[in-house]
Symmetry: C2
Subunit: 387 residues, 2 copies
């Protein structure tokens, strides 16, 4: 193999450049003299012939970029249709690409599957996983999740301590369209059983505003404060995103994949309104964590970084084997890289298992906590406040 094309798609993570560096350095090792082209802004760069030549970038420079959050090649939310795909394939052929490694999530693996089918087998299409949402099937967890989870765990530990000092209700809205893993990570570093988050709402369980108010009231009665973690993608019983029930239709915004824009002020304001109406006069604060956890330089996990790098190396292995998707699986002791067919991952969403929450309460179950304790172990030693 003499020519590789690499790109990054979807929402960036704190360690997505580790995967890029892992792939480039593995290519150098296994395919001496091969050309490595980084496409700018995902498949758009291939379509437009916009590349950065990574073949000769010095290793120390690559390692520095690897330690840098977000997608160094740029990213895209483009969802290629048949015509766009034909342009991308033409672009890959023009460069004489033997393999195309695309680092991304669900939508990105879907793009790779379509391209692989359209190409007729002359090019190896590899998907290397990344997503803070942790929502790829066939994976125990995904590169990018642990770093984002570290942020969320630390943020909620800290906010819980803040609200011990100045009691009230706190709602933190966390990214997570279809899967609640990142929101559940808010509970990973709880100080003790009395600590927040006291309520965790994920997209996998129907959300009801009256039930929410009841839950908050009961928590306040018991703990004097109530810390709530909510996924931006929580849905009402009719299966619609909560934001769709609360926000007027002319303000809703969708991307090329049909994904509704979920976070931001609208949802935050809707929660504030619900708390004002349901618990009048009660101190309540709502934050949209939004982009804070996604690629935060302050909470890059060394484990996450190492796994992301390894996923990049392994992607080069899959290129030599004709393509596929890199999956991070758990063998009962450690994380291992395995090959799965693109079609097994593409377009599918892994949900947080329902038994990660208690059956009748919005709290993490033992099983859910065990998963978090394995992946998001405590990083800071803190003492117990005097109140």
């Amino acid at each position: 193999m003499t020519t590789f094309v690499i790109a990054q798609g979807g929402g960036p993570t704190a360690v997505i450049n580790q995967t890029l560096a892992g792939a480039v350095l593995e290519i150098r090792k296994r395919h001496k003299g091969a050309r490595v082209l980084g496409a700018r802004f995902g498949v758009r760069g291939i379509r437009d012939g916009d590349y950065v030549d990574l073949s000769a970038v010095p290793e120390d420079e690559l390692r520095l970029v690897a330690a840098t959050p977000s997608a160094a090649l740029g990213s895209t939310r483009d969802k290629p249709d048949a015509a766009y795909c034909a342009q991308v394939l033409a672009g890959l052929r023009k460069e004489g690409a033997d393999a195309f490694i695309y680092i991304g999530g669900n939508d990105t693996s879907g793009t790779q599957e379509i391209l692989a089918e359209a190409s007729g087998g002359s090019i190896a299409f590899v998907h290397a996983p990344k997503t803070i949402d942790n929502d790829l099937v066939e994976n125990d967890h995904t590169p990018g999740f642990i770093s984002a989870a570290d942020f969320v765990a630390g943020a909620f530990l800290s906010v819980d301590l803040d609200f011990r000092a100045l009691p009230g209700v706190y709602v933190g809205i966390v990214m997570g369209r279809n899967a609640g893993f990142l929101t559940a990570a808010s509970a990973a570093w709880r100080l003790d059983d009395e600590s927040g988050p006291h309520l965790v709402y994920v997209p996998e369980r129907a959300f009801s505003v009256p039930r929410f108010i009841d839950d908050v009231r009961a928590t306040l009665d018991r703990h004097k404060r109530c810390i709530v973690a909510v996924s931006e993608g929580v849905t009402t019983a009719d299966g619609k995103p909560l934001v769709e029930s609360l926000v007027s239709p002319d303000r809703l915004e969708r991307d090329a994949h049909g994904n509704l824009k979920l976070s931001g002020g609208d949802l935050g304001m809707a929660f504030e309104q619900a708390l004002r109406d349901g618990l009048p006069g009660k101190r309540a604060r709502v934050d949209t964590l939004g982009y804070m956890p996604r690629g935060n330089v302050a909470t890059i996990s060394p484990v996450d970084a190492a796994e992301a790098f390894q996923a990049g190396s392994y992607a080069v292995d899959l290129a030599a084997r004709g393509g596929g998707s890199v999956a991070l699986q758990f063998d009962g002791e450690k994380t291992v890289m395995r090959r799965v067919p693109l079609g097994d991952v593409a377009g599918k969403t892994r949900h947080m298992p329902d038994d990660f929450l208690e059956p009748k309460a919005n709290r993490l179950s033992r099983k859910g906590m065990a998963y978090l304790e394995r992946l998001v172990p405590k990083k800071f030693k803190v003492g117990k406040p005097f109140v």
Copy 2:
């Protein structure tokens, strides 16, 4: 001196417990056998006789609490009137207090001044500073600011990298009622002159929505992305908080000090609306950082922690000297602790100097950057993206 009372007031910080521990350990060193009472929830604990006896808490336990964000004794926003003050004084006398050390910001120092005047001099009243807002006069900077600033600097570096990959407009709303220091810290770790935050809006300069939209448009034309840091307390030309112009009066909320609740979904939503109207169709995201920077366990600065501890020790020195306010000043080389009269700090607000911003643009000036470089030096080495 045989009996000390200590309390914490106002918004917690990441290092406010360092000041508590610094004071307790200094009392043990200088006043062997003295009783140290920690009042729960600020002056309210003194009024209600609600104390935790800190005299015998083991040093290792105190040091662990010191490393824990938020106020371990609890805090309060109560603003004592004459009757409340009389109750607090009675409470202090009942315990035979020789000194009352109150750790807090503007409002807290105001409370100490009132108590000192009412007491007639029989008790030493000491104010030990803390505030992430950095808005205490007589101080070069305040304990709590550097840790919060580290969070904000890292968050905006990270978001700028994110929006390089997926271009658009980002607005991050940062705590800061009257002073723009924390919002300005968003610029501390800028990668280069092209990097965000491209626009910084602070309470010290009048905010205009049309001007804001023009600024954003011009930045997009130049950089394809626009990262904005806004203080929650920005005011319009008539001197009113922006949130007051944008949000209907029945939703505005004030605390006992008359402080308007500034952050949260309402202001975020108002910015989203302004961007939708002013730049229709443009990708724009708004986050309220809210409580994230205030006492975040992940970004506790060792320098901040050490200074906060030292401020606690020094407060004990001031108790022996009859009281006063601890001020962190800069002698041209290093931070030094000095005594200033309570009345010099109480009820006053230190604003960010206007020349920390460029005269005609919402960007940090050289002078502003020099201040940040001294206090908030870069903590992470990152590489330059390929886009």
